[in-house]
């Protein structure tokens, strides 16, 4: 199983850049790294996905080092609305769903 390890919680302030790191030491060759965001009383929502190096979209950036054993989700200039739980997932397309573990995620709290 491609197990991931993330910090349980993080705090930051509005306007700051937040970086959440995820460790996935046993990532396989075909695995992608995907991050989801979940607000209270809602289902998780896709943020970003990558395989290697750097990916950027309108919401976040994802940094993946060459060995792919970790990844960092970067949220630029956070606001109060970024307070949520963030999940890091590792898995390959078409692999068994039972091999993709959500874990407990990182609870990010943004203060004014």
């Amino acid at each position: 199983l491609a197990k991931t390890t993330q910090p349980i919680s993080m705090d930051s302030y509005e306007g700051q850049e937040v970086n959440i790191t995820c460790s996935h030491n046993n990532i396989a060759t075909n695995d992608y790294i995907t991050w989801y965001q979940q607000f209270p009383s809602q289902g998780p929502r896709f943020i970003i996905q990558g395989y290697k190096t750097k990916v950027t979209n309108e919401v976040a950036s994802l940094f993946i080092p060459a060995d792919r054993k970790s990844s960092t989700l970067s949220l630029p200039r956070v606001s109060l609305s970024d307070t949520a739980v963030y999940y890091c997932l590792v898995g390959a397309p078409y692999s068994s769903a039972s091999k993709i573990i959500f874990g407990s995620g990182t609870r990010l709290s943004i203060r004014p």
Binding site: Y32, T34, Y36, S41, Q42, G43, P44, R45, F46, Q49, Y51, Y87, G91, A92, P93, Y94, S96, A97, S98, I100, F102, G103, S104, G105
Partner: protein, 114 residues
């Protein structure tokens, strides 16, 4: 999310009664999943389906069964509800490709077993 709906959104039921939760999608995605979410446990996979009449068990399948007779519908049944099945249930869909795979989740069903 657009394209995936869960019903009901809330339900209270008594211990020992059967309960069926419904997930409906309009995306024609092949894969569908049921998760439960409890404090301290994150999301745990109950059952999943990779096509009509093709289903498999997840991490916490005991006490649950599923059926998928049409691409768009995935039903989760609690045969005889217990208090330990009080939880928030999420349905998800995906459409894998070798360019990656992402999940789209429904809004959830909050189930309380009394």
């Amino acid at each position: 999310d657009a394209g995936i709906t869960q019903s009901p959104r809330h339900k209270v039921t008594e211990t020992g009664t059967p309960v069926t939760l419904r997930c409906h999608q309009t995306e024609n995605h092949r894969y569908m999943y049921w998760y439960r979410q409890d404090p301290g446990h994150g999301l745990r996979l109950i059952h999943y389906s990779y096509g009509v009449k093709d289903t498999d068990k997840g991490e916490v399948s005991d006490g649950y069964s599923v059926s998928r007779s049409k691409t768009e519908d995935f039903l989760l049944t609690l045969e005889s509800a217990t208090s330990s099945q009080t939880s928030v249930y999420f349905c998800a869909i995906s459409d894998p490709s070798w360019g990656g795979e992402t999940y789209t989740f429904g809004s959830g069903t909050r189930l309380t077993v009394v």
